[in-house]
């Protein structure tokens, strides 16, 4: 099972009269890890919803493996920030959600893989943030998606759990070789995980930069910090004075 190839050509989306994405073009090679960064409201999540087939683009074509995405993409799965575990199903039943009968053994194996074997029979609402994250990850990966879309999944976690989860995502990606698209506003996270970082600003891609650092990446390495600083400068540079400046 290899990753899906993704091609976005000329994709545009407006909400009412306000264009959110305009004429977006980029492609993702099979098995590549792409991070899309940008300020809130720049259209990152809209882009993800288009690729997942949750919403339809107003213009342009989004193709997975050369086939245009229409409706829900079968091989693509989304990991949302709010995770969306069903609170009334035990963790193990959440992992098996919608699978044909006989999923139990596989679900147990997957839970053990993400380190949740002791919580299979817990209710999702009793888990900690990181544990819920692991459960949601197990629920997605048991279906062996060829394209994983991460919609700021780690945004609400504390710093330590976040690092742990980044390592887990990287390990699972290297093992399952799916194509990954990570939406994030954390530049460090993007540089730590992605092969390529796209910067989305005002509905267009303003930066497309390859991360040529060997894995696992050391966050304190000079090259890492240098790249992060460079991208961060691009993110912050809005070309016009910011309307509000917060000083700490």
């Amino acid at each position: 099972m290899s990753g899906a190839e993704l091609a976005v050509s000329g994709a545009g989306k407006s909400f009412g009269a306000r264009p959110v994405l305009r004429d977006l073009c980029f492609s993702v090679a099979p098995g590549e890890f792409i991070a899309v960064i940008g300020n809130s409201g720049c259209g990152k999540s809209t882009l993800l919803r288009l690729i997942a087939g949750l919403d339809a683009a107003d213009s342009g074509v989004i193709a997975a493996d050369g086939e245009p995405v229409r409706g829900l993409a079968r091989d693509a799965l989304v990991l949302f920030q709010e995770l969306r575990l069903l609170p009334w199903r035990r963790v193990i039943d959440n992992v098996g959600l919608g699978l044909p009968a006989g999923w139990l053994a596989e679900a147990q194996r997957m839970l053990a893989h993400v380190g949740l074997q002791d919580h299979a029979n817990d209710w999702p609402l009793t888990l900690s943030g990181g544990q819920r994250q692991r459960a949601a990850l197990a629920r997605a990966l048991i279906r062996q998606p060829r394209l994983m879309l991460f919609d700021e999944p780690l945004g609400a976690l504390d710093a330590l759990t976040r690092l742990e989860m980044q390592d887990l995502i990287e390990a699972l990606w290297r093992e399952q070789k799916f194509t990954a698209l990570l939406i994030t506003h954390d530049v460090e996270e993007a540089v730590a995980l992605a092969d390529r970082v796209l910067l989305l600003k005002e509905g267009g891609i303003t930066l497309n930069i390859r991360v040529n650092l060997s894995r696992p990446r050391l966050r304190s390495a000079e090259s890492f910090v240098g790249l992060k600083t460079k991208i961060l400068a691009q993110v912050m540079d809005s070309g016009e004075p910011a309307p509000f400046v917060y000083r700490v």
Binding site: L54, L72, P87, W88, R89, L97, W123, L125, S128
Partner: protein
């Protein structure tokens, strides 16, 4: 409504059943409707992403999601049911506990009246306990329905 019901159904079981059914319908309907309406659309979207068909969507997401409100409606409806039953039995019936109590009233049998009240109270408590047990069992996943002290900080 009572005179109309007596006119239509006469005095007997039919009138009682009709009164209670119409009285209980709206709290049940309103609560169920509210429960289904307030299911997080994100969860329904998740169901679609994970390929649930309409049937699975109902059993896995819509019914359990609406259940707290549905059970709330059931409890409220049961309370209303007893009230309607007592009224119906005292006025438009030829048998039943209420009829017995009203009869006793005519003959100044205080002990029978008290027995009637006691029976109603006992039955009401019994049915309410049953629904509470049902709630505790079906809503185990909900932190608000956990027994005290059983809730864990997340």
């Amino acid at each position: 409504m009572l005179p109309l019901v007596i006119l239509w159904f006469g005095i007997g079981e039919g009138a009682k059943v009709f009164m209670i059914a119409t009285g209980v319908f709206f709290p049940l309907y309103m609560n169920t409707f509210h429960g289904v309406r307030h299911i997080d659309p994100a969860l329904i979207e998740t169901g679609r992403v994970y390929g649930l068909d309409r049937q699975r969507l109902f059993w896995d997401i819509i019914l359990p999601g609406a259940l707290p409100a549905v059970l709330n409606g059931v409890r409220y409806g049961l309370g209303l049911m007893w009230l309607t039953l007592i009224v119906a039995e005292t006025i438009a019936a030829s048998s039943g506990i209420g009829y017995m109590a009203m009869n006793a009233c005519e003959f100044l049998q205080t002990d029978v009246i008290l027995l009637g009240i006691l029976l109603y109270a006992l039955l009401g408590k019994l049915v309410d306990s049953f629904v509470r047990a049902l709630e505790a069992r079906l809503l185990r996943w909900h932190p608000n329905y956990q027994p005290a002290g059983g809730r864990r900080e997340s």
